[in-house]
Symmetry: C2
Subunit: 234 residues, 2 copies
DNA sequence: CCTACCGATCGGTAGG
DNA sequence: CCTACCGATCGGTAGG
């Protein structure tokens, strides 16, 4: 599985503090040694192994479902013994939340970067193509277990967690709306934009159920077909 | 929860025999009493309670997921004690399979009836409207836990079970193809019909994630919007 | 992070 | 279909 780019202190705190980070922050007024902070061997190692747990959890939650994937399986996937994930995460549920958080943070970064690469005067249709193409990458590209877990394990979150993830997905989806509204006003998107967004995300998200990277269609092909379906001629 | 119309001996044998029916068939050459077969009190009761298990299982599998819904919960939902579902079903997994089978058999019957009600010369766009509207009913209408379970618990089936359900879904989906091909040839469906089918089912199936019967949109509204999105002007 | 363990729960069964 | 039970597994913890 491809690695998700790692910016640990950031990724884990994108949303509200949620009690999932077992590493206590340095006391506010604490005296710090001067010079470049040197991580000890143990600290470096800790971040890596923590992330190994997250990656293994994403893979197993996706393959078996949250309830059916045991914390022992996840520990083994990270090369640890049975109870050790609980040194890094206070509960199995908190681990699920971190997987979803990290997946959405990465998806949002990827989408923002794709939009930033576009010329400011790009036509709405090309913006939609870019959004669709990036979304396929997020869903189906290498290392793409995080977002499918988010899509299919929503019911395993508690209310507070749902609220946290909703903020991330809400922001992600909001970036589609100006484009959809422009297409609607230009006459190439017949449905009303709000409902169109729901259907379009459904059409794309569902691809995790049937897409095979060894099948005939590339992500570029799929993007062209989806664009054609939603906006008429491609 | 609305009852699924009950045609027990049919529903359970639509697909290949799968070892899920605990009621042994009458021996082939057995001597039968003449006249209308009278069911005993016990037999009638048995069918009803069996079906109560199936309905409770559908509801709980949907709400909690297959792995997280316990057979004890299901037993309680049917007014039984802990181990009693295993009198009717050899395993929890067999119960899941029956839920999916029954859901798909009902969906197929509903779709067939909707198509049969159409005039033979109905335009392709009206056929698609009918198919979409019926699919929403199947997904979101009263008593609609069975198909969502099928959609979201695929990974909990074993290979033989997947094959069995695939036959049902394959037949269901195949009924959309002539209509999609006609629209494609007529120029009102821009994507290629095979890929369009995958995206369209995704768009519709995803609605189980966001639709609320207490929300503003009716199933008729949604049908109009979906038709507009896929084929241009409604 | 490992070792050893706990209480709870689970799917499933025997015997009636 | 109930009663009483079994072995297995699970999330999580104490103590080092």
């Amino acid at each position: 599985m491809a690695k998700i780019p790692q910016r640990s202190p950031d990724v884990d705190t994108v949303v509200l503090a949620s009690g999932v980070s077992p590493v206590s922050p340095a006391p506010v007024g604490a005296r710090r040694p001067r010079g470049r902070p040197r991580k000890t061997h143990a600290e470096l190692d800790e971040g890596n192994r923590r992330h190994l747990i997250i990656e293994g959890a994403a893979r197993l939650f996706r393959a078996k479902g949250f309830a059916a994937a045991s914390t022992r399986d996840i520990a083994a996937a990270a090369g640890m013994h049975g109870g050790s994930p609980f040194y890094h995460f206070e509960s199995k549920n908190a681990l699920l939340y971190v997987v979803m958080q990290e997946g959405m943070a990465q998806a949002a970064r990827s989408q923002q970067a794709a939009l930033d690469r576009m010329p400011a005067d790009a036509p709405a249709r090309e913006r939609l193509r870019t959004l669709i193409r990036n979304h396929f990458e997020v869903l189906l590209g290498p290392g793409s277990d995080f977002i499918p877990v988010m899509l299919y394990e929503w019911r395993s979150l508690n209310d507070g967690q749902r609220e946290g993830i909703s903020k991330l997905t809400g922001a992600y989806e909001a970036q589609w709306m100006p484009t959809l509204r422009a297409l609607h006003q230009g006459g190439s998107l017949a449905a009303d934009p709000r409902t169109a967004r729901l259907f379009i995300f459904g059409a794309l998200n569902w691809s995790v159920q049937w897409f095979s990277p060894r099948g005939p269609a590339s992500l570029d092909n799929l993007t062209t077909q989806a664009l054609a379906l939603f906006t008429g001629e491609a």
